[in-house]
């Protein structure tokens, strides 16, 4: 095989594509524009903080303890407590979105500490603030759990044989106990993959897949215009043409995804992990486009068919591989199916890198993508051979 000829063909193909403005849009402009859009949409959805109202109809020690807990060290960064005079005002302010949620403490709540039945604590929430609702409910539950545990402690001790005249003393002592199971929040030491760091490679890979269509269409348009026949009579080995075209598709893919990686890292702060590791994934992902393009050419007979099949392959892989949706929240079955696609593996490797996985984590994804290459290349060869012998 003659390397310069192969390179010449590849360079010519690349030049031709870069002259076509629609190709530039598809491969450079579109993924960047969509990555920007997504980071605008999700860039600010970060720290949680809620404004919570307390309507105190009790005025006793339990209500005081409750408000104290809401204002305490543990929740200081999460909640701001606003005293509100009555329930109607609280409802209005929760409905308008001014407050995330409101607690209405019933009259006589403090009698609960003496083991009396008391009305429920109402938690007013808004359907528009589901997280505030969950947080308010959970914080309330944790408080009443301690309160209920103190009352239960007294009752259990009495039932276990402590004389009833000690009840008041028991209640005082129980109020000082704390639940024997406590949650200890700990930073995990790793980052969680952020939505912007997920979608930057997701969009980059999606538009990289469109390259398959360009390659396949190019092949048939050259065949139809007789270029391929003319090249065939030139003193070239038959393989040079194929290798040259494959190289062009590969180069185009690498250029596309690398551009997205560099621009989104610099401009949007997307995290692609250590550059050599990310680079390796970009290279194998681009490599997988080559046999895929060959397969599309092998199964198609006309340019129109090739375009259609390429589009089907592109959208099918993108949908299943997780390029459109944040796959982490998908059911496990979908996440498993995504691992049948090279883009699914590439995306997993890149998001793992961005969330702080060691560079060695790319080993399995690279092998998986290469295996996919072998399978598609084998299928393409088999089909091409059958077509020739027929």
């Amino acid at each position: 095989m003659n390397p310069p000829t192969t390179l010449l063909i590849a360079a010519k193909d690349l030049r031709q594509r870069f002259r076509d403005r629609s190709a530039l849009v598809l491969v450079f402009v579109a993924p960047l524009a969509l990555a920007v859009l997504i980071s605008l949409a999700f860039g600010s959805a970060q720290r949680f903080h809620a404004d919570i109202a307390v309507v105190d109809n009790d005025g006793g020690p339990v209500a005081e303890a409750f408000t104290g807990m809401l204002r305490g060290e543990q929740l200081r960064d999460v909640l701001t407590v606003h005293p509100v005079a009555d329930e109607a005002t609280a409802r209005e302010r929760v409905d308008s979105g001014e407050l995330g949620a409101a607690f209405v403490l019933p009259e006589g709540l403090s009698n609960a500490a003496r083991g009396e039945r008391v009305p429920d604590i109402a938690v007013l929430t808004s359907v528009d603030a589901s997280v505030s609702a969950l947080v308010a409910n959970s914080v309330g539950e944790a408080f009443v759990a301690q309160l209920n545990a103190d009352v239960l402690s007294v009752n259990t001790a009495l039932a276990a044989g402590v004389p009833p005249q000690r009840a008041a003393e028991l209640a005082r002592e129980a109020a000082g106990s704390s639940l024997p199971e406590q949650v200890r929040p700990e930073p995990s030491g790793t980052k969680q993959v952020e939505v912007s760091s997920y979608y930057a490679p997701a969009m980059g890979i999606l538009f990289m897949l469109f390259t398959i269509g360009f390659g396949a269409r190019g092949w048939f348009s050259e065949r139809d215009s007789g270029t391929l026949d003319r090249i065939a009579v030139a003193p070239l080995r038959p393989g040079s043409l194929l290798v040259g075209k494959a190289l062009a598709t590969f180069g185009y893919g690498v250029a596309s995804l690398s551009t997205v990686a560099v621009v989104t890292s610099l401009a949007l702060g997307a995290d692609w992990g250590p550059p050599p590791a990310a680079g390796a994934i970009i290279v194998v992902m681009a490599l997988s486009l080559v046999p895929l393009t060959a397969l599309v050419i092998a199964v198609s007979t006309t340019q129109r068919q090739a375009e259609g099949i390429a589009a089907t392959v592109t959208f099918g892989l993108a949908l299943v591989g997780g390029n459109f949706v944040f796959l982490s929240t998908a059911p496990p079955l979908l996440r498993t199916i995504a691992m049948l696609t090279p883009n699914g593996w590439a995306l997993r490797a890149l998001t793992d890198l961005s969330s702080g996985a060691p560079w060695t984590s790319i080993g399995v994804p690279i092998l998986a993508i290469l295996a996919f290459c072998v399978v598609t290349a084998g299928a393409a060869l088999l089909l091409a051979r059958r077509r020739v012998t027929r």
């Binding site: 539950e141 259990t156 639940l179 199971e181 200890r184």
Partner: protein
């Protein structure tokens, strides 16, 4: 007659194309499935938990699982739990200590590490929910320790008594109430993905389908048709009918598939029909405009989908617009998509009718008129 013949010819050609059928039939089903399943998972708060050992560890996990809006994923060990957390599959990881049971039964206190990565909304929610469940679980344990302390015996021996007394002991309860329960957002899952994918895919297919028109133009089909007894007006009308029927065909399929396969209730039939018709007109206008604007079929099929995807993202087809900053939500309403999704939200989530979506329908009608007028104008100019 010629008008119908033109529309029918284009329609026949498209329906014979098996690949086009993939985009019209199969793609929407896959998209509804994937997006619906993912969105469903996105609104739930998930925590990973290590299994721990023994009966108390089991009852603790059960208690966490009982929390509304919280899903527990049991992982075999700490490393697996950490991995789930890092990948964003869960918002927190509860590391149940292996010796939980022994320590608690001895009367000592156990710290349960809960790992989070940041102070984001969902992580705070996960942490608070786990805290509440742990407190609930610890209630009889505290009573058992206290009773053993006061009346003798071991905490383990008093635990059963505490559990028995629990039901009879008065307790303070919380009563959650949504003040605006009648104001719905699109419910997560397929009821979100089916209408939004209808909006997204009908538009994308129409815009990408503009390539057929570009091809017709390049091949001189229009010029040849005009050589016969066909008026430019009929040609324009024929193409309009073709794009309109394609959009309606796909919409009808998505509505049927949504209802039959995914159990989507499309709301008030009259309002839904008007909405589908108007959206088909918007798609028709956009498709024909793309057919007159692009110079090569490649351009139409290359630039059409990204524009469709971008509009879909801006308009709330890929995620609910409630999640994005207000400025972006406002900007999203520059696309017809946002108005269509708003309308579907009213129909599906709030049981609204035609009157309730009058405003977005008017906006959609305006979009349709502008797009169609521009397309017809450009096409006529190219033909005459």
């Amino acid at each position: 007659m010629s008008t119908l013949a033109i529309a029918a010819a284009s329609l026949r050609r498209t329906l014979r194309d098996r690949v086009a059928l993939f985009f019209i039939v199969a793609l929407p089903i896959i998209a509804i499935l994937v997006v619906g399943a993912t969105i469903q998972g996105a609104t739930d708060i998930k925590v990973a938990a290590t299994e721990g050992r023994g009966q108390l560890a089991e009852s603790l996990l059960n208690e966490i699982e009982r929390t509304d809006g919280l899903t527990v994923v049991v992982r075999p060990d700490e490393q697996a739990a950490r991995e789930s957390l890092r990948r964003g599959e869960v918002q927190a990881a509860v590391l149940v200590p292996d010796d939980l049971g022994e320590v608690l039964r001895s009367g000592a206190t156990v710290d349960i590490p809960v790992l989070t990565t940041a102070a984001t909304e969902s992580e705070q929610a996960a942490l608070a929910a786990v805290r509440a469940a742990v407190a609930e679980h610890a209630t009889p344990l505290q009573a058992a320790v206290f009773a053993a302390d006061q009346a003798g015996g071991t905490p383990a021996s008093r635990l059963e008594l505490a559990r028995q007394l629990r039901a009879a002991t008065p307790s303070v309860e919380l009563r959650a109430e949504a003040v605006n329960a009648d104001r719905g957002i699109l419910p997560a899952g397929f009821s979100y993905s089916a209408p939004t994918m209808l909006v997204l895919l009908v538009f994308i297919n129409a815009v990408a389908g503009g390539s057929t028109m570009v091809e017709n133009r390049k091949l001189g089909i229009y010029q040849r048709a005009l050589a016969g007894p066909v008026l430019p007006r009929q040609l324009v009308l024929g193409e309009t009918m073709f794009y309109g029927s394609m959009a309606l065909l796909q919409s009808g399929l998505i509505v049927a598939v949504g209802a039959v396969l995914f159990g989507v209730n499309w709301g008030d039939p009259l309002a839904a029909t008007v909405l589908v018709l108007l959206w088909a007109l918007v798609g028709t206008g956009a498709g024909m405009l793309s057919g007159t604007l692009f110079r090569t079929p490649e351009q139409a099929s290359a630039i059409g989908p990204p524009i469709g995807i971008a509009f879909g993202m801006l308009g709330g087809c890929m995620w609910p617009l409630e999640l994005v900053p207000p400025a972006l939500r406002a900007a999203g309403h520059a696309t017809p998509h946002a108005w269509a999704v708003d309308s579907w939200t009213v129909l599906l989530a709030q049981d609204g009718g035609l009157v309730d979506i009058a405003v977005p329908l008017t906006v959609l009608a305006a979009f349709a008129v502008v797009l169609l007028a521009a397309a017809v104008h450009r096409m006529r100019r190219a033909l005459v």
